[in-house]
Amino acid sequence: MPVFRTAFNGYSVKFSPFLENRLAVPTSQNFGMVGNGRQYILDLTPNGLVQVAAFDTPDSLYDCSWSEENENILVSASGDGSIKVWDLSAPPMANPVSNRQEHAHEVASVDWNMVRKDSFLSSSWDDTIRLWTLDSPHSLRTFAEHSYCVYNACWNPRHADIFASASGDCTLRIWDVRQPRSTYVIPGHEMEILTCDWNKYNEFMLASGSVDKSIKIWDVRSPRQELTRMLGHTYAVRRVKFSPHKESLMVSCSYDMTVCLWDFRQPEDALLARLNHHTEFAVGVDMSVLVEGLLASTSWDESVYVWQMGMDPRAA
C-alpha cells in the first residue's frame, strides 16, 4: 500500500470527511522540538500518495482537523499557541486564511464538531481548552479546569455540546458547553493521559490512552472503574481511535513505534494486530469514515502509510 515521505516528522494524520482519497498530515521539523511546521494535504491516487498542497508555518504543527461543513477548510494546531485555518480553494498566498493566537502555549489538538459542524475545539499545553467558530475571530469560550497540559479534546459524535478532554494531570474530564463547569472528572490513569476518543456507536463510551502504556475503556456514567483495560503497548500510548464502522474495533499508536488494532469486547484477546511498519515513534493514526477498513498512520520516521485493514502496510 502507498507510502509518502514527508520532509519533517509526522505528528498526526486525518482522513477528509468529504473526499475518500484525501488526507491531511501536520508535520514538524526536529521532532516538534524547534523549527518549522508543514501541513500536508495528500491524495490517494492510482500512483500512490500525491501531495496536493503543503503549507509552511513558523512553528511546529501537532494536530489538524478537517471542517465538517466544508471540504476545503482545515485547521492546524501549532506549537506557537496559534491555530491556523487553511482554505484549499484560496490562493496559496491567502493561506492561512485565519490565524487564531490565543493559547499561551503549544496547541496539542484540534477537533471539529461533527454534529453542529460550525465549531471546533482546541486543547493546549497552557492547561486550557478553547471553543471556536470560523465566524468569530476570538474563541467563544475557555475551559480552564485542568491543572496541567491538555493533550486532547474531542467532541462526542452524537451530542453537539458534549466533549471529553485528556490531560497530563492524569484526569479525563467530560464537559457540556451548556454548563459552567465540567460535568465529570475521571481520574483515569496513574500517569499522564495523552489521548481520548468517543465510541461512534455508544454515546457514553470513551477510550483513553496514557503514558502508563495502557488503553482504558470507560462508561463515563460510572467513572470509578474502567470497563476494560488493554495492555500491549510497551511505551506511552499516543493516540486511540474508535472505528467508525464497527463498534468494538479500535486502533492505537504508541511511542513503542507500533500501531495496534484492538477488539475491546475480547478482554482476554483484545489485541488483533500489531503493525511494525514505522521505525520511529508512531504518533498519528486514523480510520477512514468513507471507506471501511482504510487506515492511515504517520510517525517521526517521516512517513505516512495508508493501507487496508488486514493488509501489511508495507506490502507494495
Partner: protein, 763 residues
C-alpha cells in the same frame, strides 16, 4: 453561510480595491461552486453513526437545544473585557458591529476593504474576519520565519533524535559539544519547555532523576540555560494542588462515590508498574523483556545519582571522568539491548560517530546555570585544554621577543623546585586510578558476553582507546617531551640561533627540530624550552607545547612568561584557584607591579581581588598591553567575554601588530557566539603571520561555528598542510567532513592524505 463569508473575506484580501464587488467578483462564483460541492459531499456522510443520531439526546446529557447558537458561551466571562460582550456572544452569528468598529477603521487605512457579498446576511463578520486575517497574515505568515535548512539543522535533527532514542536504551544522554547551531533565545526556550514535557512522556518509566538527567544532557549540549526566560513546566510530582478541590467540586456535582487517585510520584513508578502489570493473565508476550528494561532503568537511575554526587563531590576536576564513567555505563547498557529495531536505529549512527571521534563526549556534569556554558574549554578540545597556555606563551614571546636574548645571556640558577606542584596537581585528578579501575571492569566483562554487533565492538574499541589515551595522559608521559628521530640539527654549532632564525621566517616545523637540538644540548636552557613551547603552540601542537613549557618552568621557576603561561593553562582546565595563583605570581614577580601584591599572600584567592590587582596595575601604567592581555585572560576565566574582548581590544590598540593577540581576541569572540567577528580577528593574525597554523585552524572553527562547514574544511586542510601533526585540526576536520556529508573523504583523513583533501577543498 458562514463559510461563504469566510471565502469571500479571504478572497477579498487577495483582490484589493474592489469595494463591494459582491456578485461581480469572479471569486464569488468560485465560492458558490465550492459551497455547492461541499453540500453535495455532505450527503455522503449522513449515514454515519452519530451524525444521524444528533437529535437523540441521551438521558445523562440532557436535552439538545436547537443548533442556532453555541450554548454555554455566556460562561466564558473572563474572555470578554467590556461589559457589552456577553450580548454579542449570545448570538455570535450576528455580530455587534461596534465591537470591531475601531479596529476596522484602522485597518481601512492600511488595507483596502474586501469585497462584500451583499446577498449574504451577516456578512460583516466576513469582512471583520478578513481584516483579522490580514493583520495575522502579516504577523504570522509562513514567510515570517526562515526555514531552518542550513547544515546546523542536520546536526540539530540528528542530535534531538538521539535524545528521544535514548528512551529505548535507558542510557544516559551524554552532553555533547555541538557546533553553534544559531538557536535564538526563543528557540532555546522552546526546546527547553518541550523537552521537559515530552521527555516525561517518553522516559516516564525511568523516574524523575533519569528524566532530569536526560533533559539536562540535552540542554547542556545545546548550551541552553535552564533558567532561561519564563518558568519551566515542571513534572507532576505528587498531589496536584488544585486537584483535590476540583475533584471535590466535580464529585459534588456528579454526586457519585468516587475515590480520587492522585498521580504518584514518578520516581517510584516502575516498581509499582511492574507489580500491577505482572498480574493480568492476558499479559502479552514481551513482558519479560519489558521488566528487564525497567530493571535496567532503575539501575540507571541509581548509577546516575551516584555519578552525580561523585562529580559534585570532586567538583570540576571530575568532568572528564564523569563523561567517561557515562561512556562505560552506556556501553554496558547498550550491549544488553538486543531489540533489532533499536539496533537499526539512528542512535547507532550517533554512537558510531562518537566512536570515530566525530563527536566528542564532554564534561557532563549537571552544572549550575552560571558555569553551564563551557565555552572557553569548548573552543579547544577537552583532551587538549592546554592550547591556550601554549597560545598565550606565544603571545608573551611577542611582547618580550626583544629581550629574550638578554635573558638567555644572563644565565640561570639551578632550578630550586622540581615539578612537585605539577605532580601533586595531577594526582589530585586521580585520572590514572580511575582509568585502571575502569580497565579492570572492562576486563571483568562488564560489557557482557554477547557483544556481537559491529557497532558495539567499534564503540568498545573507542572506549579502550580513550582509556589508553587517558592513561597516557595520566601517566608520567603526559609532560614528557617527545623528541623527533633523526634530527638533522643535532650537532649544529648553534642550534638556538638557527631555531630563532627559522621561527622568525615562519618555518615552524624546522624551528622545532633546531630547538630540540638546542635543548638536547642544553637541557637547562629555559629560553630554549620556552621558545620551543611557543613554536609548538603556534604550530597547533598543544601537548608538545605544554611539555616544553613545563620544562621551561623547571629551568626557571620565576620566569614571568612561564608563570603566565601556566596561569592560562589552568584557566583552560577551569581550575580557577591555580590559574589565579599563577597570574598573581606573575604580578608578584613583575619588577614594576610586584609592590601591588600584599606582602603576606593569603592562600584564599578571590577572583575579584586578583582582578582588582590587575586593574590597579592597569591604572599604574595604562599603556602596558601585557596587563590588558592578562585582564583579558582573567575575564575569560570568569566567562565575562564582553570585558575580555574589550581588554584584548585595548591591548591591540597598544600592540596592533601582535598576531597572537588577534588570535586571542578571535578565540574569545568565538566563545561568546560572535564567530563572524572572530573570522576578522583571525584574518588579521594571518595577515601578520601567514604561517600561523593555529590561526588557520581557529579560522576553520570560526566558520564551522557559523555552520559553514565546507569553508571550515579548507582552513583545517591548510593548517594541516603546514603541520600534519596538529591533532586537533584532524579532529575538527573529521567533524566538519561528517556534518558536510563528505564521509567519503574520511578515508583520506585516516590515511592522512592531505593532497586528496586539498584537491577537494582548495583554499
Amino acid at each position: 453561510m458562514a463559510f461563504r463569508d469566510l471565502v469571500m473575506g479571504g478572497a477579498g484580501c487577495a483582490v484589493p480595491g474592489q469595494d463591494g464587488a459582491s456578485s461581480s467578483n469572479p471569486l464569488g462564483g468560485l465560492a458558490d461552486s465550492i459551497i455547492g460541492s461541499a453540500s453535495k459531499t455532505q450527503e455522503r456522510i449522513r449515514e454515519m453513526p452519530g451524525l444521524a443520531g444528533a437529535s437523540q439526546a441521551g438521558p445523562q446529557f440532557g436535552r439538545n437545544g436547537p443548533l442556532t447558537s453555541l450554548p454555554g458561551s455566556e460562561f466564558n466571562q473572563a474572555q470578554w473585557h467590556d461589559g457589552q460582550v456577553p450580548e454579542y456572544m449570545r448570538g455570535f452569528q450576528s455580530a455587534d458591529p461596534r465591537e470591531f468598529t475601531d479596529a476596522w477603521n484602522q485597518s481601512v487605512e492600511r488595507w483596502p476593504p474586501p469585497p462584500q457579498l451583499s446577498t449574504v446576511p451577516g456578512n460583516q463578520e466576513g469582512a471583520l474576519f478578513s481584516e483579522f486575517d490580514s493583520i495575522y497574515g502579516q504577523q504570522a505568515g509562513p514567510s515570517g520565519a526562515p526555514l531552518l535548512d542550513a547544515p546546523p539543522q542536520r546536526v540539530l535533527n540528528n542530535f534531538l533524535h538521539s535524545f528521544f532514542d535514548s528512551s529505548r536504551t535507558n542510557a544516559p544522554f551524554p552532553a555533547v559539544r555541538l557546533p553553534e547551531l544559531g538557536l535564538s533565545q526563543a528557540d532555546k526556550r522552546r526546546i527547553r519547555d518541550r523537552s521537559h514535557i515530552m521527555g516525561r512522556h517518553i522516559f516516564a518509566d525511568k523516574g524523575d532523576t533519569f528524566v532530569d538527567s536526560q533533559v539536562n544532557g540535552l540542554l547542556h549540549s545545546l548550551d541552553i540555560d535552564e533558567s532561561l526566560g519564563a518558568q519551566t513546566r515542571g513534572p507532576l510530582a505528587g498531589q496536584i494542588p488544585e486537584f483535590e478541590q476540583l475533584w471535590k467540586e466535580g464529585f459534588a456535582q456528579s454526586n457519585m462515590q468516587v475515590v480520587p487517585r492522585p498521580p504518584m510520584s514518578l520516581g517510584t513508578q516502575w516498581a509499582n508498574e511492574f507489580h500491577s502489570q505482572v498480574g493480568p493473565s492476558g499479559a502479552p508476550q514481551g513482558w519479560a523483556d519489558e521488566f528487564d528494561n525497567l530493571q535496567t532503568g532503575n539501575n540507571w537511575a541509581n548509577q546516575m545519582q551516584e555519578q552525580q554526587s561523585l562529580s559534585h563531590l570532586r567538583n570540576g576536576q571530575m568532568g572528564n571522568m564523569a563523561g567517561m564513567e557515562q561512556t562505560r555505563s552506556l556501553v554496558q547498557t547498550l550491549s544488553q539491548n538486543q531489540d533489532p529495531k533499536f539496533q537499526s536505529s539512528k542512535f547507532l549512527q550517533f554512537v558510531s560517530k562518537m566512536s570515530r571521534g566525530e563527536l566528542i563526549v564532554e564534561d557532563n556534569q549537571v552544572k549550575s546555570a552560571t558555569t553551564n556554558a563551557d565555552a572557553w574549554a569548548n573552543e579547544f578540545q577537552q583532551q587538549h585544554p592546554e592550547s591556550w597556555a601554549a597560545e598565550f606563551t606565544a603571545g608573551e614571546h611577542q611582547f618580550r621577543g626583544d629581550t629574550w636574548a638578554n635573558e638567555f645571556a644572563r644565565g640561570k640558577p639551578e632550578p630550586v623546585t622540581t615539578n612537585d606542584a605539577w605532580v601533586d596537581e595531577f594526582s589530585k585528578l586521580g585520572v590514572k586510578d580511575w582509568a585502571d579501575e575502569f580497565g579492570d571492569q572492562m576486563a571483568r566483562g562488564a560489557l557482557g558476553d554477547d557483544v556481537s554487533s559491529e557497532w558495539v565492538d567499534s564503540y568498545d574499541q573507542f572506549v579502550e582507546e580513550s582509556v589508553r589515551g587517558e592513561q597516557m595522559k595520566a601517566g608520567s608521559s603526559r609532560f614528557v617531551y617527545q623528541f623527533a628521530d633523526n634530527n638533522p640539527y643535532v650537532g649544529h654549532p648553534n642550534p638556538l640561533k638557527e631555531g630563532q632564525e627559522l621561527f622568525r621566517r615562519g618555518l615552524l616545523s624546522e624551528a622545532v627540530l633546531a630547538l630540540e637540538a638546542e635543548v638536547l644540548k642544553n637541557p637547562d636552557n629555559a629560553e630554549g624550552w620556552r621558545l620551543l613551547g611557543i613554536t609548538h603552540a603556534e604550530n597547533d601542537d598543544d601537548r608538545q607545547a605544554i611539555a616544553s613549557m613545563v620544562k621551561a618552568r623547571d629551568a626557571d621557576p620565576s620566569n614571568l612568561e612561564v608563570l603566565l603561561a601556566l596561569g592560562v593553562s589552568h584557566t583552560n582546565e577551569l581550575e580557577q584557584d591555580e590559574a589565579l595563583r599563577y597570574l598573581r605570581g606573575w604580578l608578584q614577580h613583575h619588577p614594576k607591579y610586584g609592590a601591588l601584591v600584599p606582602g603576606n599572600v593569603s592562600e584564599q584567592l578571590i577572583p575579584s581581588e586578583v582582578e582588582g590587582l590587575f586593574l590597579e596595575a592597569a591604572q599604574m601604567s595604562p599603556e602596558d598591553s601585557d596587563i590588558h592581555t592578562v585582564l583579558g585572560v582573567i575575564y575569560n576565566l570568569s566567562r565575562n567575554y564582553v570585558k575580555a574582548i574589550s581588554s584584548f581590544e585595548r591591548a591591540l590598540q597598544l600592540k596592533p601588530r601582535d598576531y597572537s593577540l588577534w588570535n586571542k581576541l578571535g578565540a574569545t569572540q568565538a566563545n561568546s557566539s560572535r564567530s563572524a567577528e572572530a573570522i576578522y580577528a583571525y584574518q588579521e593574525a594571518l595577515d601578520l603571520k601567514p604561517n600561523y597554523v593555529r590561526a588557520w585552524s581557529n579560522m576553520g572553527i570560526g566558520y564551522a561555528n557559523q555552520g559553514l562547514y565546507e569553508e571550515s574544511i579548507r582552513y583545517y586542510v591548510r593548517a594541516l598542510e603546514m603541520n600534519p601533526k596538529a591533532d586537533n585540526a584532524w579532529q575538527y576536520l573529521r567533524i566538519s567532513l561528517s556534518i558536510a556529508s563528505r564521509n567519503d573523504l574520511l578515508d583520506a583523513v585516516e590515511r592522512k592524505d592531505l593532497s586528496a583533501l586539498a584537491k577537494e577543498f582548495p583554499l
